[in-house]
């Protein structure tokens, strides 16, 4: 049986463009450049690696986002992904991780026979790392987070190595399952000319609430359990001190400052 892998990606603002204006202390974004969440590119790469070893594998990428997110999907096709589906509907706006997972789960179900879902560890705009595990729970499939290596064990199981704060763990995961992956699964390959041509022509279907059979009240902001009540700039750091003088003087000053700050181990 050929394997079907679904990869979930997200378009995020390029971190280079997000900063605080020191004068107004507000968030400034120059331009509206979006990139594919870096961890999701690792997820795409992980799927393509499996496809490399078994050519019959089909990789479908999905994303929930505004119409322009279709560009991100096309970019993954240019890297070798087979198909892409855009989940886009005004009703999806303002979704928290629960409402996002609800929408993604409906899409994975609609895709049908899915053997493996791969997500990036987290998106770099929200940094929650919640959608993967929540999606797996809604799909009622097992999952493994922070995966750095994936090996096929037999037709029905995968062996994965996950990175934890304490070390690594080797897990045997039955299929279908969901994995969230980290950088170590492999550097994303570059788009190729052949796939770029394909990406240009590819049909990217758009599924909204109706196509997914979802209640508009259960998605987007209305379907979210959490609510943002305030957004503000983080407190700014105290004034920086530049340590002047010759190297020995700089060393002495730093040593004293760190002593004063009671840095452990000093």
């Amino acid at each position: 049986m050929p394997m079907h892998i679904v990869v979930c990606i997200k378009q995020v603002p390029d971190a280079k463009n997000v900063r605080i204006d020191p004068n107004t202390n507000t968030l400034v974004r120059q331009g509206v450049e979006s990139i594919i969440n870096p961890f999701d590119l690792f997820a795409v790469e992980a799927a393509l690696k499996i496809k490399d070893s078994d050519g019959s594998t089909r990789v479908t990428v999905i994303t929930m986002g505004p119409p322009q997110a279709a560009e991100a999907l096309r970019e993954t096709i240019s890297r070798g992904v087979d198909d892409a589906v855009l989940l886009s509907d005004r009703a999806f706006a303002g979704a928290d991780t629960w409402a996002t997972s609800t929408t993604l789960a409906a899409a994975v179900r609609k895709l049908g026979d899915v053997d493996l879902v791969i997500c990036g560890k987290q998106a770099v705009d929200g940094d929650t790392a919640q959608v993967g595990p929540e999606l797996a729970t809604l799909l009622d499939i097992p999952y493994a987070t922070f995966v750095k290596k994936i090996e096929a064990l037999d037709g029905k199981h995968l062996k994965v190595i996950r990175q934890t704060d304490e070390g690594v763990e080797v897990w045997k995961v039955p299929s279908p399952a969901l994995l969230t992956v980290i950088k170590e699964v492999g550097e994303p390959r570059l788009p190729s000319l052949r796939h770029k041509m394909r990406a240009k022509k590819a049909e990217v279907p758009v599924w909204g609430v109706e196509a997914l059979g979802l209640d508009p009240e259960k998605v987007g902001l209305s379907g979210s359990y959490t609510q943002v009540v305030r957004v503000f700039s983080p407190p700014r750091r105290g004034n920086r001190v530049m340590l002047e003088g010759a190297v020995e003087e700089q060393v002495e000053q730093l040593f004293r400052y760190l002593k004063e700050a009671k840095v452990p181990g000093l």
Binding site: P13, A15, V18, T26, L27, V28, R90, A93, G94, D96, T97, W98, V124, D125, G126, D127, T128, A129, G132, P133, E134, T137, T145, F146, Q163, T164, D165, E166, G167, E169, V170, W171, A177, K183, E184, L221, S222, G223, Y225, T226, Q227, V228, V231, F232, S233, P234, R237, R240, V241, M242, V247, Q250, V251, L254, F255, Y257, L258, A261, P264, G265
Partner: protein, 398 residues
């Protein structure tokens, strides 16, 4: 849905147009207008000094029997026979929340052959009750068995707040708990408080720490949050009394579809990165792999960990597990020392939560100095050995 503009309050100052990350706001002649591109991120709301912008209310379903939920719970993480520091921190933070609400503080302890010491330690940090589930199936972590157990306890006891550490374990299984309970979860909080409406105010960084957001979960219980380690202050409550409650759960709680084949502890610097009080990081300025020895030497003097920039990893000078930043680890030690690191935003987002940041760089214009507490413009090959010597002299080792 999109952000709402009060046309009477809008002064067409244009600040909202500048902050909108998706360029959905255009300021017209008499008022700002929001297009359908609005993602309801809320960035504009707080930047409007005139209070002209608001978000539509989240519809959050029927507000069920919220009043039947009471108490603050902390998931207590432990390893090698001791309670994880983050659990001390959470109990201290949870104690304040529970006192503010006038409710009890409980800890949930899962594992195998736990012994009483762990529970006593949790009580010493403020827990009134410790629910202990001691089962061989819980000897090794698995998302399903751990989440199912917590879910079962929550359904039975109905706490109003459930907190866990934003560790690799907490961030892995707690989303499953939230999804099974069908409630909201806020990740990686750095501040917790109780609002006038008695709701949990969960504040967390977003956009790589460039903005802070305060989040509530008005209509679902428990209100759930993971909390970033090393942010809350641990406070021991000497003489605090509590009850240890051994709890039996149905067999099906302990079932897991995955099988843990092997657990390999990494006792080197890399695994310590997120827990270290001191991190000394090296970047491209080190010029070769061998020069990381300088960094390791200082790290060892502090009993700290070695970090690196992406540049140094890409050069192949150090393993990716040391990388701090957007695609690496996010760290917040007491001292972060960036040596020969330029300070690209991708690096800064991974370390700007550190208490004291020391930047050592030859280039006085390096962006790393923008986030530094102490800046040292110097040749690192002179400065770092001199700094090590100074520490050794102080210790009489020189």
């Amino acid at each position: 849905m999109k952000a709402l503009i009060d046309h009477l309050k809008c002064t067409v100052c244009g600040v909202c147009e500048d902050v909108c990350p998706v360029s959905a706001i255009k300021v017209g002649e008499t008022s700002a207008e929001v297009s359908d591109d609005c993602t309801l991120c809320g960035m504009c709301v707080d930047t409007c000094e005139f209070g002209a912008i608001s978000l539509p209310e989240a519809g959050t379903g029927p507000a069920a029997d919220l009043a039947s939920y009471s108490g603050v719970w902390v998931y207590a993480e432990w390893r090698d026979g001791t309670v994880h520091k983050v659990s001390h921190e959470l109990l201290s933070a949870g104690r304040k929340l529970a006192d503010k609400r006038g409710v009890t503080l409980a800890a949930v302890l899962l594992g195998s052959n736990l012994g009483e010491d762990l529970s006593s330690e949790l009580i010493a940090y403020g827990a009134d009750e410790v629910y202990v589930v001691d089962r061989p199936e819980l000897a090794r972590f698995s998302d399903e068995a751990y989440a199912n157990s917590v879910v079962h306890l929550v359904r039975e006891k109905k706490p109003e707040i459930l907190l866990a550490g934003a560790t690799s374990m907490g961030r892995s299984f707690v989303p499953r708990v939230a999804a099974m309970l069908e409630t909201g979860l806020t990740a990686d909080c750095t501040e917790l408080d109780i609002s006038d409406e008695e709701l949990l105010l969960q504040t967390r960084p977003a956009f790589g720490g460039n903005v802070m957001a305060t989040i509530i979960c008005p209509n679902k219980r428990p209100q759930m949050a993971t909390v970033r380690p090393k942010v809350m202050k641990p406070e021991k409550k000497d003489g605090h009394q509590g009850r240890i409650i051994a709890t039996a759960l149905p067999e099906e709680c302990f079932k897991s579809r995955i099988e843990v084949l092997e657990v390999i502890a990494e006792r080197d610097q890399t695994a310590k990165l997120t827990e270290a009080d001191v991190i000394i990081s090296g970047g491209r300025g080190l010029r070769k792999a061998e020069h990381f020895a300088l960094i390791e030497d200082v790290a060892q003097l502090f009993g700290g960990a070695v970090g690196s920039s992406r540049g140094a990893v890409e050069e192949g000078w150090i393993a990716p597990s040391h990388q701090v930043g957007q695609t690496g680890r996010t760290v917040a030690p007491t001292l972060y020392m960036a040596v020969g690191i330029a300070g690209a935003i991708q690096h800064v987002v991974g370390m700007q939560g550190s208490q004291v940041i020391v930047a050592v760089n030859k280039d006085p214009n390096a962006p790393i100095f923008d986030v530094a507490t102490y800046g040292v413009v110097a040749d690192l090959f002179e400065f770092i050995p001199a700094f090590s010597r100074r520490i050794r002299t102080e210790r009489g080792e020189a």
